[in-house]
Subunit: 271 residues, 2 copies
């Protein structure tokens, strides 16, 4: 999916919501536990319930890998289902991969060819030749870690002058344009988000979360929003997919996604 | 496997060789292509042929993931076979993972519980809470990227004062001791390797390669060797596993591994 298409979806749905699909057995409703494909079943019902309120889905690969090859199959089934039944959703593999050139190509094949994700999150530590192989796939995206939302972001991402995350953004913008490169912007303070928006220009920012992991939606919009192009995605995982844990969990997820989408609609209307 | 055990293996075998298992169909002998488990078959024969000359094996996960859930099964079969038939080998999942706390725990479970690897390579970008979950598993190791061997290492790993990779080593040494933390030291110049050894103290260094990717084995030993404790692993992947591509490929791999091990024995004897 290209940038134009994604922005059109955001405007049409009045939503820049991305829903994280991070299945954890202890949090998934008990009635699904015995199902041989419980991850896929859980995801499928969440997807069908929330899709009208969001523009993107983001499974984090760790939550599938921890179940071995069976877990990887669940990820494949989820990606295939999304692609076939919701072709207008932007599909992000939150994998945080990155390796030397030829090896990054193998990762890109895993997510762009074996599965048909639109984007992969990539860690920048190894530099240009670890990122570029992902960019060689047409209409596919790299979402590069810039500033993450966890406490450990303080350890290295502010290192040096300019700070490492600013340097990552500045350097990576020479590798790719706004049609194939986004940045993870996990700032918890408004000023940091404003700095990230300034550094990233019109590139899409993926904000990992509001609430527990970050500020309010209003703050994120105020500092990282991009009034002309709306090049912003805000993710929510647990808040939506575990909104309920009974047999009606999908309806609970839908209600939560709808609530966020309606807040987004208000913000977009003011833009 | 603990540090004492690994060093004892190195001394007994007179080898600090790690063999990378990175299967690529085009390079694997043609007679194996039709086998339903061609990756596992290829690996198995390489493992049996070279094991007496090395102390560690290191599959890179990208080369398995690019074949989807089938590829992940091949990785599981390889890891299980290694653990069952070669219990004295140190098993490294070259995965370069790293995510926020709870998510890194899921990756750790994938490699330490679902499979029984001794170590995982981890990218440091997200800081302490992305690395520590891996360190909570008893007798398991993190091999943290410090300086990598690719061209892109120049982009960010030398950023700031001290350089980012020096800061990574200095900071990470506060998180874990020599019994659970190694560093990737991919320097291509002798002086850089000497600096890495100084910064890393007695922590094990994993050198990604000699020859194509780096200096000579003699240089690596001179600058990164640690005469008292031999806390060094040198990897070779393609040079060994693709030494031949006929039906006798395993014998060709064995001959290449033996050659490197004999050079290592000479260096260790002088120590």
């Amino acid at each position: 999916m290209n940038k134009h298409h994604l922005i059109a979806n955001i405007k049409a749905k009045k939503s820049f919501l991305c829903v994280g699909l991070d299945p954890v057995k202890e949090k998934v409703p008990v009635h699904l536990h015995a199902h041989k494909d419980w991850i896929f079943e859980f995801n499928k019902q969440v997807i069908n319930a929330v899709a009208e309120h969001c523009v993107a889905f983001k499974p984090n690969t760790a939550f599938y890998e921890c179940y071995g090859s069976w877990g990887w199959e669940q990820l494949e089934k989820t990606a295939r289902y999304l692609r076939e039944t919701h072709p207008d959703q932007f599909l992000i593999a939150d994998a945080k991969r990155g390796d030397i050139g030829n090896t990054s190509t193998m990762y890109a094949k895993a997510f762009f060819e074996q599965m048909d994700f639109d984007a992969v999150t990539v860690a920048p530590y190894m530099g240009e030749d670890s990122v570029k192989p992902f960019l060689e796939f047409k209409d596919k995206w790299v979402i590069l870690l810039a500033l993450t939302s966890n406490k450990g972001a303080q350890d290295f991402q502010y290192h040096g002058v300019p700070t490492l995350h600013e340097k990552v953004i500045g350097t990576a913008r020479k590798w790719a344009d706004e049609d194939s490169l986004m940045f993870v912007a996990g700032a918890t303070r408004g000023e940091d988000l404003a700095d990230l928006r300034k550094a990233a220009g019109n590139h899409f920012l993926l904000v990992p979360g509001v609430g527990a992991q970050g500020g309010t939606l209003q703050e994120v919009w105020k500092y990282a929003g991009n009034k002309d192009e709306v090049s912003l995605l805000v993710n929510s995982s647990r808040g939506i997919i575990y909104a309920g844990n009974g047999e009606d969990y999908a309806q609970a997820a839908k209600a939560e996604a709808k609530k966020i989408q309606e807040e987004m609609a208000v913000l977009l209307l003011k833009a």
